[in-house]
Amino acid sequence: MLRHIVTRILFSIPVLLAVLTLVFLVVRVIPGDPAEAALGDYASKEAVEALRERMGLNDPLIVQYFRFLADLLRGDLGKSMITGRPISEQVAHVLPYTLQLTLVSISIGALLGVPLGVFTAVNRNNFIDYLGRVISLAGLSVPAFYLGILLILVFAVKLDVLPAVGGGDLKKPADNLNHLVLPALTLGLIMTTSVTRLTRSTMLNVLSADYVRTARAKGLRDRVVILKHALRSALVPIVSVIGLWAASLIGDSVMTEVVFSRPGLGKMLIGAIMQRDYTALQSVMVIYAAFVVGVNLLTDLTYGLVDPRIRH
């Protein structure tokens, strides 16, 4: 097991490095001069040139690249070009909000999605199954920001029971929780539909397996067969894919943060793009990509834990 873990970790290092390189290069080819962007339209040529020198933009690309990597290793994300404050400060401020949203949404997705998936699979080709499939497909089709708007319309505008915008104060749990409900519901429901679909198709596969037939032939009750025999082996791919979805959920989580004006990495990313804050943009992309690489690694490892065959 230890060997499996070590090899997997070693495998993900080159991927991470390639990802960092790509981010570095992309930010360098974005049109427009970061120094000019930072100083605004009315800055003198000399001032821009001085800032370029200070930011190290006049150095050869390869020097900039290694400085970028060295800074990252030290955990230094640089300074925002707009506010001049350290980016790590801003990240530390918004990260709890994003983590909170992601964790709660995934929990909603898993807690609702797995039972729903089992339920529809067991009722295969019934009316229930049919209805469940149509609903989950609709859930797969709705853009996160639109679902967010609909929830705002119902709960914030019509019923006026929950706040529509902001992230609440982290130090006041009640306020914070109040602000979390709608965004988490948005993301959680989208997650639920994906998990339901996956659980259903995995369960269908497993339910036709020989050992399930054997279990039934032994006269075990339906409940035991479904929960103990079928669901247990169906959980392998489900766990793995829920992990992957934490990563693919990022796009939807960005949109959710935007629509609810909720502080978070996603909102920071969009802000950085709109304001052409290159250092902030670069940092957020590095964090996201590192997160995905990390999630993929964890997924692989969990997979190995749940299914011993994979280790070899």
Partner: protein
């Protein structure tokens, strides 16, 4: 990941795949409903105005299916609520929302279809070359695909748009690039399966060269999978286009696009929710239609799910 559910199939099954696909396609009701919906939406977008006749007569196109001109402003009646004349109300410039939705389908479908064609072509080419050639080439291509897949699709789209700038053709390129790794991955794994087929070995033994082999023996057999992926990804591409437009990186105004319309409406959610709600419904129905089609197609391709 949708694609991980479709596994490569034994070669024997692949031979009759096209016939089987067609037969089951006709039988599968959900696929047909999705297909019909897609056709209707496409017709609606294409004939929003009478451009073919207008082109022949050399005049400006007039609205045909759309009741009004989508960019004509009526500022005295801005944010008017839905009525008999304007079933979906007016937006902040007093433009008819129904007409804008009908015209807006053009942007969504164009971006959806073109980006999938682009991404599908790039991805299929990479996947098929990687799968068939093996060795170093395969390694390089597939590791590059891994790296690209490490970026969540929206983030990657944003990255490409940040480099290229906003606009419809750039959006096609951005989404196309974003989709290509998924195609490459699926095509790669099904090429690996197809290449083991006896007929491939037979063809090789009579001296068929690699190019001819890819074109005549490999490509036709992985195409079924590509078609399914394409319909599912068209759904996603339209959704991503809506996301990007909603952020403000879409087509420039006054050209109507669904995501942009929703964005404009968010300021008036309390007093004029229809400005956002109806365009969102259009996105939902369109993406749903493509998903319905793709979902049915995938069930057909996955023999394990068949009774």
């Amino acid at each position: 990941m949708e694609s991980s559910e479709t596994l490569p199939q034994p070669a024997a099954q692949l031979r009759s795949q096209r016939q089987r696909l067609w037969r089951t396609f006709i039988r599968n009701r959900t696929t047909i409903v999705g297909f019909i919906l897609v056709i209707l939406i496409a017709l609606m977008a294409v004939f929003a105005d009478d451009w073919p006749i207008a082109l022949l007569q050399g005049r400006e196109a007039q609205p045909l299916l759309a009741p009004f001109n989508p960019v004509k402003q009526d500022t005295r009646n801005r944010l008017e609520e839905p009525s008999d004349v304007h079933p979906m109300g007016l937006d902040t410039y007093g433009r008819d929302i129904l007409s804008r939705i009908i015209y807006g389908g053009r942007v969504s479908l164009m971006v959806g279809v073109c980006s999938v064609l682009l991404g599908g072509a790039i991805g299929t080419l990479l996947g098929i070359v990687a799968g068939y050639s093996g060795g170093k080439i395969e390694n390089v291509i597939m590791r590059a695909v891994d790296v690209l897949m490490a970026f969540p699709s929206l983030i990657m789209g944003l990255m490409v748009l940040a480099v290229l700038g906003a606009g419809i053709s750039k959006m096609v390129v951005a989404i196309g690039i974003m989709l290509s790794p998924s195609f490459a991955r699926v095509v790669h794994s099904s090429t690996l399966a197809v290449k083991e087929g006896v007929y491939v070995e037979a063809a090789r033994s009579i001296g068929v060269g690699p190019l001819r082999m890819l074109r005549l023996h490999i490509l036709p057999n992985v195409l079924g999978e590509v078609v399914v992926l394409a319909s599912i990804w068209t759904a996603n591409a339209i959704r991503i286009e809506a996301n990007l437009s909603f952020i403000g990186l879409g087509v420039s105004p006054p050209t109507p696009a669904w995501g942009t319309m929703i964005r404009d409406g968010t300021q008036y959610l309390t007093n004029a929710p229809w400005v956002s709600v109806f365009p969102g419904l259009a996105i939902l129905i369109t993406v749903f239609a493509f998903n319905l089609m793709g979902d049915g197609l995938r069930d057909i391709l996955d023999p394990r799910l068949q009774v």
